[in-house]
């Protein structure tokens, strides 16, 4: 697996963004979500837990991806 250290920072930034999105979904009802968010519904008091979980999974994926791009590259003999 080729390591691309230049992708660490973008992956971490993307991960943080998705983590924030997850927290917004978990703490805000559907009518108060920004209108460009999937699940925005005026007048609704529902909280989109599943959308938040999906965003958290993507955030975790970004952090894991960043983790693998770092570290030392194993030598050819390993």
């Amino acid at each position: 697996m080729t390591k691309r250290p230049q992708l660490i920072v973008p992956a971490v930034i993307l991960g943080v963004i998705f983590l924030v999105i997850a927290i917004v979904y978990w703490t805000t009802d559907a009518s108060s979500l920004p209108s460009f968010f999937p699940g925005h519904e005026s007048g609704s008091t529902d909280i989109h837990h599943k959308h938040g979980l999906a965003a958290a999974v993507v955030a975790l994926g970004c952090f894991v991806f960043a983790w693998f791009q770092g570290g030392e590259k194993p030598s050819a003999s390993e």
Partner: protein, 290 residues
């Protein structure tokens, strides 16, 4: 009066355990069977969803224990790769573990976001019968297209090694996304993942093995996410039946996975494609006329 009788729970549980793992769509069968028998059970009823949670959990537990040795190795492999921040070329279980993670994410995301709207949109028995027919066509298609894809079954190698050596992360994403087709009643999750495995170059046996490994976290997570519904007020009057149904589903799931792994050593998806096309066509016509 209880919404589901114990007899119905046993029949639906037995059916769920089989159809969840056979590539014939469990959701499609759980939609059409009550109508065939004239049972007043609908797939969008809260109590029925709670009942299905229990059968899903049972199937996931059976799959977990059936492949327990593999899962122990897979978890160790993932841990090893995280520690080293590297997935070794010859580390079969680390590669297999991440293939499963990468394959689970698209199916999980699509499931979280689309499960409710798709279930509501395609709720009718007529639609489920039509999609059952379509599922048969997809299985035929996977078998036809895979003849052009090289099958890389290596003599003397463990199936997990062949899977890890053959599949790329891109193909795992594709197989994982294909599983989301099963959100539509009538289309099969295991059929989609087995078909995807065939197109990626796996043999029927290895494609089935990968499909079962991939199914475990998805079915388990779907069950766990909805477990509060079974334990909450939605599960009132149905918990006993759910337990009986789960036991029935667990028994048939165990024998199904055992049978299918042996079946696919020498056979293909074709018999299931024929079954889905015939049953789907007959039921589509019958439901349209009734």
């Amino acid at each position: 009066m209880d919404p589901i009788s114990y007899f119905q729970a046993i029949v639906l549980g037995l059916l769920q355990g089989i159809s969840e793992l056979f590539p014939i769509s469990s959701l499609g069968h759980s939609v059409v069977l009550p109508r065939i028998f004239g049972w007043n059970i609908h797939q969008n009823d809260d109590y029925f969803l709670s009942f299905l949670v229990a059968t899903h959990c049972a199937t996931a537990i059976v799959l977990l224990f059936f492949f327990l040795k593999d899962w122990v190795q897979i978890v160790k492999g993932i841990g090893r790769s995280l520690r080293d921040r590297y997935i070794g070329q010859d580390d079969t279980y680390a590669k297999l573990g991440w293939l499963l993670v990468v394959g689970t994410i698209p199916a999980g995301l699509l499931g979280l976001l689309l499960e409710h709207p798709l279930r509501t949109l395609f709720a009718s028995t007529q639609t489920a019968a039509i999609f059952l027919f379509v599922n048969g066509l997809l299985l035929f298609g996977a078998e036809a297209l895979r003849r052009r894809a090289p099958v890389r079954s290596e003599q003397g190698m463990h199936s997990d090694e062949v899977i890890a050596g053959t599949l790329t992360f891109r193909s795992a994403i594709g197989i994982g996304a294909a599983q989301a087709l099963a959100l539509i009643p009538g289309l099969s999750r295991s059929g989609a993942s087995m078909g995807g495995g065939l197109l990626a170059g796996l043999s029927n046996e290895e494609a089935a093995r990968f499909a079962f490994l991939l199914a475990t976290p998805i079915i388990g997570a779907a069950g766990l996410l909805k477990l509060p519904e079974l334990l909450g007020h939605q599960g009132d009057h149905v918990r006993g039946q759910a337990l009986v149904g789960a036991i029935a589903a667990g028994i048939t799931a165990y024998f199904s996975v055992k049978f299918l792994l042996r079946f696919f050593e020498t056979n293909r998806l074709t018999p299931f494609a024929v079954y889905c096309c015939v049953v789907g066509a007959v039921l589509s016509v019958a439901f349209a006329l009734s």
